[in-house]
Every structure is written in C-alpha cells, then in structure tokens.
C-alpha cells in the first residue's frame, strides 16, 4: 500500500485543521497503511497544524501506533491478569521463540508476522488468549500456539 497524496487526502478531508484530531487522524492512517509512514505523519501534522514533534510524541506514546511496517499477520497475545495466572507468559515465550523475534515485540524478517503484547482483550473466560488479525483464539497452550502459527503461515 503506497502512501499516496490521494489516500492521505481521503483520510484528512474528514478532519478540520485542529490539533484535537491528531490521534484520530493517526489512527486512520494506521488502519489504512498498517503503520505510520513518515510522509503520512508529516502530512497529518501539516494538515492539523501541529509540529512534527507532537505527532511523533503521540505516535510513540500510544501503543496503537507503529512506526515500522507491520507484518502480514498481527499476533497480539494477551498478558492480562487472568491470562497471566493461567500461564500466558509461557505461551508468549513460545510465540517469540517460534517467530525468532529477539526483542519483547517485533516483526519477522520476512514481514509475515508481527508479535505484540496486549493487556487484556476482555476474553478472560477463555484465558490465555491471543488475537491473530481479527480472530481471537482462546484456551491456548504452547502446543496450540505452535499450531496456530503453522496455520497462519500457510495462509
């Protein structure tokens, strides 16, 4: 998805030039491109009349934003309390090992998967849970986590 003037304009024309729309506009950009490309960030800031430093601060403060391109599949593992007491930490480690991600979060080299932690998806009854793209997978174990990745790798 290339960042085009038109694509940005489609987003920006919904927002009057006022700084209160910064987060909403960046959310739209994130939704459209899956991350915040620098040129889009500049465009949003210019449009709303906020300095780039403000846009960047917001983008790095909130977890919803990513400044790096995301992988094809977004794996969000819940590490909320209910999931934690049911062993989510081990499941998360399993994902990390299998995806070969060095840091706490990240994207695989082939841009196939992005792995991140979330604090509670609100599906505590199925703990531990993970969300891949839009789908929630509950009652995970390390073994199931492995299956899950294999399944999405084939897609």
């Amino acid at each position: 998805m290339s960042v085009t003037f038109k694509a940005l304009e489609n987003i920006l024309e919904h927002y009057p030039p006022s700084s209160e729309h910064l987060i909403s506009a960046l959310q739209d950009v994130q939704a459209k491109f899956n991350y915040l490309p620098p040129e889009a960030m500049t465009a949003v800031c210019d449009h709303l009349g906020v300095p780039l430093s403000r846009g960047w601060a917001v983008a790095t403060f909130y977890k919803a934003f990513s400044l790096e391109p995301k992988g094809e599949h977004d794996v969000a593992v819940c590490l909320g309390t209910a999931c934690h007491v049911r062993g989510a930490a081990n499941v998360y480690e399993k994902f990390r090992r299998d995806l070969g991600i060095a840091g706490p979060e990240g994207t695989t080299r082939d841009l196939k998967f992005s792995l991140r932690q979330v604090r509670c998806l609100g599906c505590c009854s199925m703990a531990p849970v993970a969300q891949v793209d839009e789908e929630i997978h509950g009652n995970l174990s390390q073994r199931k986590a492995g299956h899950l990745l294999r399944m999405y790798r084939k897609r």
Binding site: M1, S2, F5, K6, N34, E39
Partner: protein, 807 residues
C-alpha cells in the same frame, strides 16, 4: 512620539545565587545618583509575588522603562514582558542585565568588585533605554491572488488548496493543459506514472477552477513589492513587459532528471533508463519479457537511490497491471531500505515482482542478458536474466532552471545542488509570519506525493496570512527603517541582506530609496551596519542606543578592562552556558549583546577606542552555516580587519581587537577565548591618553563614518580567499591592498580635518601637526578642497591656508 523615560530598576537576589556573590546594597548605593524612578532589590522578581510587586511599582510610579538586573534575557524576558503587559509595558521597554551569568557565576572577584562591574552594565542598559523611541506597527492589506512561480507540480497542489478555500491564484506554467503536465511528468518525477490517474483528476480541478488563472510562463524581468502587494514583471515574446500583481508568492520548483550515462553498459534497444522506459509507457509501448531495474549510481546519494528503487517498484506494478507478460525485478543495493510494508510484499508476491538486494561493496556486472551481483545474504554471486535492463536517470542541476528567480528571491543553492530558502533560524516571535514559500523537489529529492503535500502546506501558509490580514492582524513589525532623505539608492543593503527583506527597485528606475518588506526582514541589521550613508536603522536597537550604552559603561570601567561584543547565538549563548557549567574567567571583560556581529556598525568599534577602551573582543558563531544571519559574522570580519589596519596606521597594536567564533554548546571555548584575549591585553599598556593618540583615534572614528570607507567595507564583505561565498571573487592580496589604500587616504584626511579643528593651517603646518611629510599631504589637500571638505582661506608665505568646511 517621544515620552519622558521613567526607569525602574529591579535587582534580583536569585535565592542567593546573585546576592551571595555581588554586593547588591553596594550596587544600589553606586546607582544612587542615576536618573531612575524606582530602584529595589527582590528575592525573586520573576516569581508571582515578585511580578506583582513590579506591577505595583509600575503603576504607582508610572514606569515606562524596566530594567531587571537578574539573569538571561534569552530565557526570562518573555515572562517579564508577559507579566508587565497588563500594566502597559511593551516588550522593547524591558531590558535585562544578566548579573547572574555575566557577573556572579563566572568571576572569582570580591562582591564589591563585582558590584562595580554590575553597576557599569546596568548604567549601560539605562543609557540604551533612555534613547529608546517606541514605534507603532502598521497594518498591512492582502490584495490580489497568490502568485505561484516556478512551474513545479506542487504549484498546482497549492492552487487547488487555495481555490478550495476561495482564494485566487495565478500559476505561472509552461504547460497550459493537464495532459501536457502529465506527459512531461517523468522528467521531474520518474516512477510516479502510477499516480497519473489521480493526478489527472487533480489537475483538471485546477485548470477548470474559476479561481485559478494559468499564466503562460515567460522570463521574469523583476519581482518587487512586499507582502500583501507583490509585482512580477514578465518579458513577453514581443519584448514588452507585462506586470502581474499578487499578495503572496509561492515558488514551486522541481528538479529535473536527465538521461543516465549508460554508455558503459552498452546502450542499445535493450538497455535504457527510467525516463526512456516511462516515455514508452506513455506511448503504451510495453514489451513483454524480463525487465530488470538495476538501482545503481551511488554517486547521486542514498536518497536518490532510494527514490529510484521505489520508482522501479512502482513502474513494475504499473507494467504488470498493463501487461501480465512483463516479468519485472528490482535489484537494489542493500544499504538502502525499501519502505514497503507487509501488504506491499503480498502484492509483490501476487504479481510475481522480484525484489532483490545486492551487496553494494561489490559492483554488479552487466552481461548480455544477465546481471550478476553479490547477495548480502549468502555472499554468493547470483545472476538474474533480463530482456530489458533499466537504470535510474540522473538528477539535473536545479539552479539552471531557476536562475531568474534566484536573482530576485532569497533562495540559494547549496553545495551539492539543492536549492534552499535562506536558512535563517530565529525565535518565531522574532520573525513575522512567513510570506514567501518555497516548495518542490529542487529543495530536496522526493516523490510526487511529497511535493503535492508541500504545495498544500504552502497554500495553508498563504491562507494563514490572508486570515490574519482579514482580521487586521497582519501587521508590519517594522524592524528596519530606511531614511529616505539619506538613502542614495546604491543597493548595497539589498545585495547583502540575508533575508531578502530589502526590496529591489525596478531595474532602470534609477537611484530610488529602498523599501523594506517587513515580513521578510529579520532585523538582523547587517544592512544597517553596512549602509554607507547610515540611512538604515534597526528600530529599538539603533547604533545610537548601542553607542550610548558603551559610553555609559566605559565611564565606569577601568583602564585595563575590555569590551566583549557577543552575538546572541554564539558568543552570548556560550558565555551564559559557561555560567551554567560553573566555569570562571577573569572579570575584566564586559559583555555587550548584539543580535549578530554583522549588525555591529564599524563606528561602534572606533567609538569604543575613542572612549579609551583597552581592547575589544568579538565572539560570533562559526562562519558559514552556523551564523544565524547568513554571512553576518563574515561581514563583521572585514570591519574588524579594517579596525586592525587603522589601529596599525595610528601606531597602535592590532592585537587590541580580536574576533573569535564559538558555538552555543562550547562554553569552554568561550572561556579560553576570553582568557586568551585578556592575557594578550595584559601584555599591553592601557590605551595612551595623550592628545596625539586621541587625535588619531578621533580620525579613526571619523574614517569609520566615511561613506567611501563604508562602501568599501560593504562591497568587500567576503573573505577573498574563500570560494564558497557567492558573487564575484577577486585576488585576495589585491583586494586587501586596495582597502589599505582607501583606509590610509581616508585616515589621513580625517587627521587633516582634526588638525584643522578650531584653526587654519597651511600644508607644512598640517604636516607638522600630523608628523607626516608634506609631499604626502599636499595632493590630499587639493582633493579635499575639491570635494569641499576643506576650503582655501587664503595664502600665506606662498602656501595655501586651509580651514574646515566649504568656502
């Protein structure tokens, strides 16, 4: 509007930071007989209780000049002006003397000694405040369209945005129809054909808008006027000049690409550059087969390579969409990153577009039908097969296209080709709203989407100033004023003005006084310091104010003490930083803040010596790009140089004056400079105060006021040996010798004038007075009489007798 000045002095203890080091009661005592209305010492004038106390004093005593003896005006002045605005005190009526950083924190002398120094600085500030003449800002209109010059694509984006907000624009363009713009697109934006459909809609909107006027591009004859009212003269094919008027200017200039050098590959039908390829795309001529885009040419820089790689990827997409028989592949150096997301890679996989990186250390080799390169993944050499090999085009010289604009507007070409608007960087409240906008890829390689954004942003800037004008808030800050009675229209100020603020006159219209475009003017003051006729004045910060300040300071300085002129960005900032770091230096140097060393009129230097200063140090920013006023520090260099030459002519030590360069984050360098300067002075005697020396110093000072000398200083503002500076270069030694000649002559002439003060003399008499051979003086006297500076009063013993003034 002249009002009696009522000065209130507020001394700050700063929680002991000042009061522990400086004997503040003594300061008050020493200031007792100065003309103030209020004098008080406070624990923290800057905190709410202190500000309240200040406001009360202002109201009770009708104060209209405020002097705070506390800390840095850079940091604190805004708070004071904000707090005092409700009681009617304006920004320029507040003066801060930095007792903390210039005295208390940096010297090891006794509190009583420091009190004396503090008093000298405060007295200087008071003298300057007394000469302050408040001015009234003028409201400006905003009439006519925005003028969009340069023909870049971003201009259309600007016009569209303006039209959407109901503002007219005139776009100067070679292409008079959208189709023409699209056909030519690849010359400026290779790889952006994929956006043509979007751009076509876009352009149609512009070309059909009733608010947009497309003006056929013609050579620009002149650009004059100021914000809200610009005039552009266009030379028509029939050689007449027509004028287009507008309220604001947007310059949209794109960098063109030229053909790549593909001779070393071999050329032929199968090898081409991106521009050729896209010309084929326009013609609908897409050959099936393997197309390999080889991103080479590291000599154009990584940004260009990255742009080329993205262009190749976009052209690949375009081709496979048109013709699935095409099998494209992009081969790019591994040291650039392709800004492609997961979704792009999915698309690449879906269309079978190859993306391969090569190790840039080993240059790929072209074979017939193959390209071999080393993969950074396995260090093995790989081969890809090609039917068509495509390499990027070469970015051209952006200035070539823009010559006529560069002549009239403050746009410069950087090393390496990039065009840039004057790189002045100030506090936003020190400069008015931007009223001249520069967009397009000639300001930095980028793709189509980015320049369209730039155009939109520029349009928003124009809308912003229109908005202000509509509200009556577009005011002229009037920072520089040209006295029309004194101005001779020589144009020197225009030439050296870094901000483009001093306007050109219409060519061929003769010596017309200059106008100042207050919205471009930054108040840097290099123009004022240069003006041969002293017709240019920086309001609220006149040379006369500075003169008064220095005189007042000198009256309290001791004979072995020195003045330090520091610019606000380098010298002053680093000196204050030294205080922050707790580095100390001897107290014998008294700092005087000037905007830029370039704004320091040469006569100030001579005046200081005339008043008996032992030595002068000047600390500015590092020359070239560090100077905030473009080449201000280089202007100053010549003045210092002239001063040295004059000192030497007067038989005094050149070492008494020295200039140095320091950055804000180098406080240690500043301290070393100051120490070294004072050590040098320590080895010298105080400035002799005998009549002969004083007469010579008077002559030096008179020389610095001479239009001829000032003209020479103005025209030789660059260091002859350095090639980076724009304009004509001349032989360094020749130039210097010319200057020495002028200075010698004028110095001597000034001495003659001094000798003739209150008496008439014949040439031998003058020669005796000046201790010069008669033969050196006689021709000069004839010239001077001819110019009317002296006159012949009669004859005596076969010699003419001269007196001051005309006959």
């Amino acid at each position: 509007m002249k009002t009696e000045s009522k000065i209130g002095i507020f001394l700050c203890e700063c929680g002991g930071k000042i009061s522990n080091r400086i004997d503040l009661p003594q300061v008050s005592e020493l200031l007792r007989y100065e003309p103030w209305e209020h004098l008080g010492t406070y624990p923290y004038p800057c905190l709410a209780p202190g500000l309240e106390a200040m406001r009360q004093e202002v109201q009770a005593k009708g104060l209209n000049r405020i002097l705070v003896g506390g800390c840095s005006s850079r940091v604190m002045k805004k708070k004071f002006t904000k707090a005092l605005a409700p009681v009617g005190v304006e920004k320029h009526q507040v003066e801060m003397i930095n007792l903390k950083d210039h005295v208390a924190a940096v010297h090891e002398a006794t509190p009583q000694e420091l009190a004396r120094k503090a008093v000298a600085l405060i007295a200087g500030g008071m003298a300057s405040l007394r000469l302050l003449e408040p001015y009234e800002p003028v409201s400006l209109p905003f009439e006519g369209p925005a003028l969009i010059l340069g023909g870049g694509v971003s201009g259309f984006a600007a016009a569209r945005e303006l039209a959407r907000h109901g503002l007219e624009s005139a776009v100067f363009s070679k292409a008079l129809a959208p189709e023409r713009v699209l056909e030519e697109l690849h010359w400026t934006f290779p790889g952006c054909r994929i956006f043509c459909a979007d751009l076509a809609d876009f352009l149609r909107e512009v070309f059909t808008s009733p608010l947009v006027k497309i003006v056929p591009d013609q050579p620009i004859e002149y650009i004059i006027g100021g914000v809200g009212d610009y005039h552009v003269g266009l030379r028509q094919p029939d050689n007449t000049v027509t004028e287009v008027n507008g309220a604001a200017i947007i310059v949209a200039l794109d960098r063109e690409f030229g053909p790549a050098d593909i001779d070393y590959i071999g050329g032929g039908e199968r090898v081409c550059d991106l521009l050729d390829l896209e010309a084929q795309l326009v013609a609908g001529d897409i050959k099936p087969g393997k197309v390999v885009f080889w991103v080479n040419s590291p000599e154009h820089g990584q940004a260009a390579q990255q742009l080329a790689a993205v262009a190749a990827w976009r052209d690949s997409l375009l081709m496979v969409r048109e013709n699935p028989q095409v099998k494209p592949m992009v081969v790019y150096p591994a040291n650039i990153t392709l800004p492609l997301s997961g979704a792009d890679l999915v698309e690449a996989r879906a269309h079978d577009i190859g993306l391969m990186s090569y190790a840039p250390e080993v240059h790929p080799v072209v074979q017939s039908g193959y390209l071999s390169f080393v993969s950074p993944g396995d260090n093995l050499e790989h081969e890809v097969e090609w039917d068509t090999l495509v390499v990027p085009g070469a970015p051209g010289d952006p200035a070539a296209k823009a010559q006529e604009l560069l002549r009239w507007l403050p746009i410069y070409q950087e090393n390496g080709g990039r065009l840039q608007k004057s790189h002045i960087k100030f506090w936003p409240d020190q400069v008015p709203d931007e009223s001249l906008f520069f967009t397009g890829s000639s300001g930095g390689l980028c793709d189509l989407n980015e320049v369209l954004q730039q155009g939109k942003k520029a349009a928003r800037g124009v809308l912003h100033i229109r908005e202000k004008a509509l509200q009556g808030k577009l005011v002229s800050p009037v920072v520089v004023h040209v006295d029309k009675d004194l101005c001779q229209g020589c144009g020197l100020c225009t030439e050296i003005c870094p901000c483009g603020g001093i306007e050109h006159v219409k060519p061929g219209s003769g010596p017309v006084p200059r106008e100042v475009d207050s919205h471009l003017c930054s108040g840097g003051g290099t123009c004022a310091a240069t003006c041969p006729y002293e017709a240019v004045k920086i309001l609220n910060n006149t040379a006369q104010q500075l003169e008064a300040r220095i005189k007042a300071m000198m009256a309290r300085m001791q004979e072995n003490e020195s003045l330090g002129f520091v610019c606000g960005w380098g010298g002053l900032a680093s000196a204050e930083q030294a205080a922050v770091k707790g580095v100390t230096y001897p107290s014998g140097i008294y700092l005087v803040h000037v905007n830029c060393l370039g704004s320091l009129d040469p006569f100030i230097l001579s005046m200081a010596f005339l008043n008996g200063v032992k030595g002068i140090m000047l600390a500015g920013c590092t020359p070239k790009h560090s100077c905030h006023y473009h080449y201000g520090v280089d202007h100053c260099w010549y003045r210092v140089n002239a001063m040295k030459k004059l000192l030497s002519l007067a038989g005094l030590e050149r070492r008494r004056i020295s200039i140095g360069y320091v950055e804000v984050n180098e406080p240690e360098s500043f301290v070393r400079m100051a120490e070294s300067h004072l050590e040098t002075l320590d080895k010298l005697p105080p400035l002799p105060q005998d009549d002969k020396t004083r007469a010579k110093l008077w002559a030096i000072h008179a020389t610095m006021h001479r239009p001829r000398v000032r003209w020479v200083l103005g025209t030789s503002l660059r260091r002859p040996a350095e090639k980076e500076f724009p304009g004509s270069q001349f032989n360094a030694v020749d130039a210097d010798e010319t200057m020495i000649e002028v200075l010698k002559e004028e110095f001597l002439a000034a001495r003659v004038l001094k000798a003739l003060t209150d008496q008439t003399l014949n040439p031998p008499g003058i020669a005796r007075a000046l201790e010069e051979p008669v033969k050196n003086i006689a021709p000069l006297l004839t010239d001077m009489a001819h110019e009317g500076r002296i006159s012949l009063k009669g004859w005596e013993g076969g010699y003419p007798v001269y007196a001051l003034g005309k006959k």
